[in-house]
């Protein structure tokens, strides 16, 4: 049985509310989606939260999946969850603007430190030095394994633009890693 046929059956099971099929999806994509969130945030606890949110959202939205690339569909949700998280953090930051000292203790960018106390690996540190948009693109491409067409579609930009940004971003990342 082909992998895509098997995946289709699993997804059909999810649509009919089969918890076992959802468990299979969690096993299939949990690692990659976790890596995606971790590389975006550099924070294990936060990545745990976002991953949980992703799969609970999947349960809610599975009925709206109408075929096509499941990975593309899943990572689109993941991307939205991450952006929602950024927006809510911005709101939170505004709320505590008056308490500057407190705010300064919080991680201000998407990933400044791993709150679990683990040392960030070298790649994570250099990823954090890239601008957010470039980091999003590089991480999305690597973990989602989507085609450039799908990536460009999700990001609402032309393929050529996505390719150029990726090319420049990876060049910059290589420089940082070598430096």
């Amino acid at each position: 049985m082909g992998a895509s046929v098997e995946l289709t059956q699993v997804i059909n099971g999810c649509k009919s509310g089969d918890a076992e099929c959802f468990a299979q999806v969690v096993d299939l994509y949990g690692g990659r989606c976790y890596g995606y969130f971790y590389r975006l945030t550099g924070d294990r606890d936060l990545s745990d939260e976002l991953l949980s949110e992703l799969f609970m959202k999947l349960v809610e939205k599975i009925g709206s999946y109408k075929g096509g690339s499941f990975e593309s569909w899943l990572f689109r949700i993941a991307l939205n969850i991450f952006h929602d998280h950024l927006r809510s953090r911005k709101r939170q930051k505004k709320l505590v603007e008056g308490r500057r000292a407190d705010v300064e203790r919080r991680p201000t960018e998407t990933a400044q430190s791993d709150l679990t106390g683990d040392k960030l690996d070298r790649l994570q540190m250099q990823l954090n030095r890239l601008d957010a948009d470039t980091r999003d693109l590089i991480v999305l491409r690597y973990y989602s394994e989507m085609s450039f067409k799908e990536i460009a579609e999700i990001r609402s930009e032309p393929i050529g633009t996505a390719l150029s940004k990726l090319h420049r971003g990876l060049g910059k990342l290589r420089e940082l890693m070598e430096g």
Partner: protein, 169 residues
């Protein structure tokens, strides 16, 4: 992730957007980037977390809930009815209706009749009470000596009682 299926289309895309000369270096950068990620894997997801997520999903699926699309459908229908009702209520042209009917607190039986008192039992009762008091007053006036000294007080009290009863009604 070296076997990334998107690599199949990569070369073709790069040549289309960068031209054959730049496509080589662009492809090299992208493949180097992939190797970088391959060589620095992110921390693995905790098995406990995956188990917890599966449990949460199982619990979620076991709890019956109204499908969201039904809520949207019926919620939308209810909203539409309310909007139409509001438009009907507030959206009428501000012109004087041709046939105005005024409501009254007085029962129709009274203001339709020539004799108001005969149409209302309470007014009829008060009229009889007043007539009784009037008769007592006449009796007191006619019989100076025989009427007890407290008779006037009694009549007065009676009038007060009637007055109170009247305003209660």
């Amino acid at each position: 992730m070296e076997n990334n299926p998107s690599h199949d289309e990569l070369r073709e895309l790069l040549e289309r957007f960068f031209g054959p000369s730049q496509a080589d270096s662009a492809e090299q950068d992208i493949r180097d980037g992939d190797r970088l990620f391959d060589g620095s894997p992110s921390p693995p997801v905790a098995a406990e977390l995956l188990t917890e997520i599966k449990q949460r999903i199982a619990v979620r699926l076991s709890v019956p809930h109204k499908p969201a699309h039904l809520l949207y459908r019926y919620g939308g229908a209810a909203a539409a009815v309310i909007v139409v009702a509001l438009i009907g209520f507030f959206g009428r042209p501000a012109q004087e209706p041709s046939d105005i009917r005024y409501a009254s607190l007085i029962p129709a039986a009274i203001w339709d009749s020539d004799d108001i008192i005969s149409d209302d039992m309470k007014l009829a009762y008060f009229r009889s009470e007043l007539r009784r008091v009037e008769a007592q007053m006449l009796a007191i006036d006619a019989d100076d000596g025989e009427v007890a000294t407290g008779a006037l007080d009694e009549v007065e009290m009676e009038l007060i009682r009637i007055e109170r009863q009247f305003w209660k009604e």
